[in-house]
Structure formats: structure tokens, C-alpha cells
């Protein structure tokens, strides 16, 4: 509800800016779609979720130095009002002059170089209803000031409102062992979601090396879970803390070498660090076919080795992405994260392709398996799910 309120304000702001007919050009696009999700374990309730999805994008210049950018994503799930939402993924005004840029509004900021997961991508809350593997982000309200040098960028962020993870209806399974009551979420900050967060980042390019370092102070995006009053639900708890992180990628011909690392100091807990070491390799041909194939291998480490609620403490991600030749932009992906300590595994197979000029179809199967109760994946062992989507783009 709060998000919708802020959205209204953002739209009003855009409307006021556009009305003077100062716009030089406006690009409009988006899609409407349907999505069907099926859980393989028929004991789950609900065992299927069907949704309507839509996105509206608009972008244009208001003057030589002022522009606007709008991207609204919405999802309607009949019978699950908690899983229906509108997210202002991007709704901002941008002012640019020389090497300076100021963005005000909702924005989507991506940090990181790895493929399976990103430990340094800490600004935007994840949209886990849209994507269980956290590739998609929810819009984050911010004031961002940027200075662009020839090879270095310095960015400062003020983040006035925190976005919570969306868990949909209370009975929706998340592989955590108990249903999650997102509405009962608690905050370490007395200001709750209104606590103001801050971040600073420096990034750059030096030859074939890309790098970035950041510092963050505020509400940590990843919640901890506490038992609800009756012991029948889990309640997300968002802690305050500080963190610093670094990322680097070195490109050497067909190989990309990657690193992400973050050190976190929660205000009310022990500090920890998480790292990713990875390599991506581009094959020109596969089995003699002109497929564009990328291979991925990434190692995940987290210092909280004794905490069985933490995923990816000592894990290996192996995956491949194959882009088929032709005009349909067909992509096939398969990958899995293997727990090297407890033998658990979670992975996915996905396929997407353009059926007609405007219609794109996708399918994904996510599977998980674990036998060790000390494995954080143990509660997700029966979590297999299949999803199918159709999107009509305009």
C-alpha cells in the first residue's frame, strides 16, 4: 500500500513535469502477460498460482538537461491479493550537466559481476515473487548523485524508504519450513521502514579490469526469520548494520574472471563476510553448431559456517547459457548450486523464445534436493516448481 502511495506521488511529479509540453521525445513500451506456477508437491496449499503481469515503460527528455524514466511493473493474482502488487521499478527524474548526474525517485541499481547470485547487489530489495533466484529487483526510492570521470564513477545514495521482501499469501511456500507472515515483519530501527539508509560507491575500468567498492549504512535487505507468536509462522526481521564490499572482473579473451566480496557488521549480531569467486567462458561453437554458449563456474563462501539457516556457505555453482542462432533470440539455461558440505542441491532449467514479433514465451523448472537437516536447503527439499509465461510486448 505504501508503495502505491509513493507511486501516486511519483506519477503526479511526472505529470506536472510533462504537461508544460517541454518533452522533446517520449519512448513508450512494455508488455502484458500471463504466468502459471505449479508446485510439484501436491500437498502444498496452494499447489498452483496463476497471475497476470504487465509492465509500462516510458522515457523522454524534458529539456536539454532534464529527463524522466518510468517503469511500472504490476502483478495480479486472483485469489491472492497479497501476491498482487504494483512496483514502481523506475520512476525518476534525472538531471545531467557535464560529468554530474542527479537522480530523484525510484530506481533500479545493479552491482555485481557474478551470474548465480550477487553478494554486493545490496541497494534494491529483491522481487522474489517474480524471480526466486533474485535476479529481479523492486524499485528503491533514492536520491543519487553521480560524478563520471573518464574511467571512474563516484556515486552517493540517500535511500529514504526501505522495501520489504514480498512473500505473497501467508500459505505460499518459500522453502523455509514454515509459512512466512510478511505483514508481521519487524525492524530493528525504531523508524521501521522509514529509516534512512546511505551508500557510497566508487567504480571504474582499468584496461580489461572492471572494479567497484562500496560502503552501506542502514537496514540490511536480507531478513532474519523469527518464530511467530503461535510458533506456526516465520516473521521476517530486518536488522540495521553497516557493510563494505568489492567486486572485480578481469576479461582475458573468452574468459571472464570474477570476484565479489562483502563484509557485514549487523548492529545486533556478529559480523560476517561472504565471497564469490567465478569464471565465465564463452564458447564460439558447441558440438559443431553456431551456438553462442557461455559456461559458468562460481564458488560461494560465507563465514557463518555454523549457522544452518544460512544458504551458500560452501557451495559451487555450475551452469551454462546457450543462445541459439536465428531471429527468435532463443535462450536455454541450466544451472545448479551444489552444497559441498551437506550434499544439497538447488537448480533450474529454463527456456525462452520469441514466438511471434511481439509474443515471447518462457518456461522454467526449479528443483531442490537435500537430506541433511543441518542443510539450509533441507526445508526446500520438496520445493520443485514449474512456471510458464507468455508476454506480449509493445
Amino acid at each position: 500500500m505504501q508503495r502505491a502511495g509513493l507511486l501516486t506521488c511519483a506519477l503526479a511529479l511526472h505529470g506536472a513535469a510533462v504537461l508544460p509540453a517541454a518533452a522533446q521525445s517520449i519512448d513508450v513500451g512494455g508488455f502484458v502477460g500471463i504466468e502459471a506456477l505449479r508446485f510439484a508437491d501436491s500437498d502444498l496449499e496452494p499447489d498452483s498460482i496463476d497471475s497476470l503481469t504487465a509492465e509500462l515503460r516510458a522515457r523522454g527528455d524534458l529539456s536539454e538537461s532534464l529527463s524522466f524514466d518510468l517503469r511500472l511493473y504490476g502483478r495480479a493474482t486472483p485469489g491472492e491479493p497479497e501476491g498482487s502488487y504494483v512496483d514502481p521499478t523506475v520512476a525518476k527524474l534525472t538531471w545531467r550537466r557535464g560529468p554530474w548526474q542527479l537522480d530523484v525517485g525510484y530506481d533500479l541499481v545493479f552491482w555485481g559481476v557474478a551470474e548465480g547470485r550477487n553478494v554486493v547487489n545490496v541497494l534494491n530489495q529483491r522481487d522474489q515473487i517474480r524471480d526466486l533466484f533474485f535476479d529481479r529487483g523492486l524499485g528503491q526510492s533514492m536520491i543519487a548523485a553521480r560524478w563520471f570521470g573518464s574511467s571512474v564513477t563516484i556515486e552517493a545514495f540517500v535511500l529514504p524508504r526501505f522495501e520489504e521482501l514480498d512473500f505473497g499469501a501467508e500459505g505460499r511456500p518459500w522453502g523455509l519450513g514454515l509459512p512466512v507472515d510478511g505483514d508481521a515483519a519487524t525492524f530493528e530501527s525504531a523508524k521501521g521502514a522509514d529509516h534512512i539508509d546511505y551508500a557510497l560507491r566508487l567504480s571504474g575500468v582499468a584496461g580489461d579490469l572492471e572494479y567497484g567498492v562500496f560502503a552501506f549504512d542502514g537496514t540490511l535487505r536480507e531478513p532474519q526469520y523469527r518464530l511467530g507468536p503461535q510458533g506456526q509462522t516465520l516473521v521476517p526481521h530486518y536488522r540495521l548494520g553497516r557493510q563494505i564490499g568489492a567486486e572485480a572482473q578481469y576479461t582475458a579473451g573468452p574468459a571472464l574472471y570474477k570476484f565479489e566480496g562483502v563484509r557485514v557488521w549487523p548492529d545486533s549480531d556478529d559480523s560476517y563476510w561472504s565471497t564469490i569467486f567465478g569464471v565465465e567462458y564463452l564458447l564460439g561453437e558447441t558440438f559443431g553448431q553456431p551456438w553462442d554458449t557461455s559456461l559458468f563456474a562460481e564458488y560461494y563462501h560465507d563465514s557463518r559456517r555454523d549457522d544452518s539457516s544460512v544458504l551458500f556457505q560452501n557451495d559451487l555453482f555450475l551452469g551454462t547459457q546457450i543462445r541459439l542462432p536465428g531471429t527468435r533470440d532463443t535462450e536455454f539455461e541450466i544451472g545448479a548450486i551444489f552444497d559441498l558440505e551437506h550434499d544439497g542441491v538447488i537448480g533450474s532449467v529454463s527456456l525462452s523464445s520469441r514466438l511471434t514479433r511481439n509474443l515471447r514465451a518462457s518456461a522454467e523448472y526449479i528443483y531442490a534436493d537435500a537430506s541433511d537437516p543441518d542443510d539450509a536447503l533441507f526445508n526446500a527439499r520438496d520445493f520443485d516448481q514449474a512456471s510458464f509465461g507468455l508476454e506480449w510486448h509493445f
Binding site: G29, F31, V90, G137, F148, S151, T251, L282
Partner: protein, 260 residues
Amino acid sequence: MTYTPSRRFILAAGIAALVAPRIALAGPADAMHKSRELRRGLTNSMADVTMTITAQGRASVRKMRQYVLETPNSGNQTINVFSSPADVQGVSILTHSALNGDDRQWLFLPSVGRVKRISSSNRSGAFVGSDFAYEDLSSLELEKYEFTAAGTSAVGGVNAIEVTYTPRYSGTGYSAIRSYLDPSHYQPIQNHYFNRRGEHMKTLHLGGYKSYGGGAIWRPHHLVMTDHAKGSTTEIVFSAFRSNGTAAANFSANRFERVS
């Protein structure tokens, strides 16, 4: 449309005045050097690109806006922003062509707000499903090729200058490329591409040449690439050509995503 001649334009104009009446050539590298000089000079240009890929009787259209920045001591820098098909709207690719063929490329994915450095080693791979390979679209830098032969040949009613050259860079799909240059402006009107087995696999027809700067700078506005093995063709039409593109600073990894 305003146009301010650059120093390179003035140099190219001088070369054009000197070489235009001549057809006889000292060597293949000279011909390609003159061809390159007569193509350069629009330091920062922009065009709308319509690419029609026809295969097995089915046509597919892609549209993009292309920005090109010429640099004095290295290869061209290019930003391609896709507008069609609609599901790739806003996706953009920044390419820094290198004199040794080791281009650097970045991809912007607006769906996740991510700029990603990508490997450009697959030079022989198809560009967005077309009959053009990435290496076909990389800027013509003389250092990337070894020029082996020159002569004359009748092509399309023109007594064209024929130049054969071999890529020096790794990962190429070609054993040789043969260009046929129109002697009136030294620009290619046909390119023949030979695969690693020496077979003539693709032909590129270049036409719709327009001159800028009083005949000192020539650019093709119509390209048709035919893949003889697959029987497919890709047509590229350049429109809305402008000699003032986007700010030079936007051709960098930290800023190209803002270009639309």
C-alpha cells in the same frame, strides 16, 4: 542539420582532391587506406538502422539506433540501442574497436539495470541472428588485416579496384575477404567473404552511397549480405543519418546506458 568540418575532414578532402582522378594504385594497402580515409571525418554520427533478416521465406525486422564515434589513434566506438523487437527495447551494446581486433564490448540489460562487460572473442558469431558476423560490423582498421593482392575487375558495370586481404586477429571465420572498390570514391560496392576452407560463403552488396563534406566523406546507406550456404539474406538500411550524434563522453562503459 549542422555540420562542422573536423581536421580529419579537411585531411580527407585534401586526399580526395589528390586521388580522385587516379585509378592506378601502388598496392592493396594504399587502396584500402584511401578507402578508409574517404569514409572518415564524420567524427560523431548517428543513424537509425533497420535490419531485415530473410531466411526460409520468413522475414524478421530489427531496429536500432546507432551512434559512432571516430577516434584518432584507435578504432571506432559504437553504441547500438535496440528498439525492435519490442522485447529487446532498450538493450544496448557499446563496442570499442581495437586496432589489433581485440574489441571490448559492454551490454546493458534494462530489465535488471545491469551493465555487463562481455567477451568479444566470438568474432565469427552471428550478430543478433543476422547474416552479419560481429567481425563484419567492426570498424575497418588497416592494422587488423594483411593485404595480399590488388587488381581491377568488372563488377556491376564498374571497372572496380579489387583488393584481397586476410584478417590477422584470432577467432576470425574467414581465410580471406575480397573487396571491390568503386574508383570514383574508393568505397566498396561488393565484399566477398571466404570461409576457413577457402569457399566463397557470403557476399555483401553496398550501395546508396551519399557524400558529406563536398564529396570528401562517403557512407553507404544500403547493405545486403547474402549467405550462400544458408540461402538467407540480411538487408540493412540507414536512415535519419546525422553528423552530430551523442556526447563523446557517453561512449564509455559507465555512461552509454543513458543513450537512447
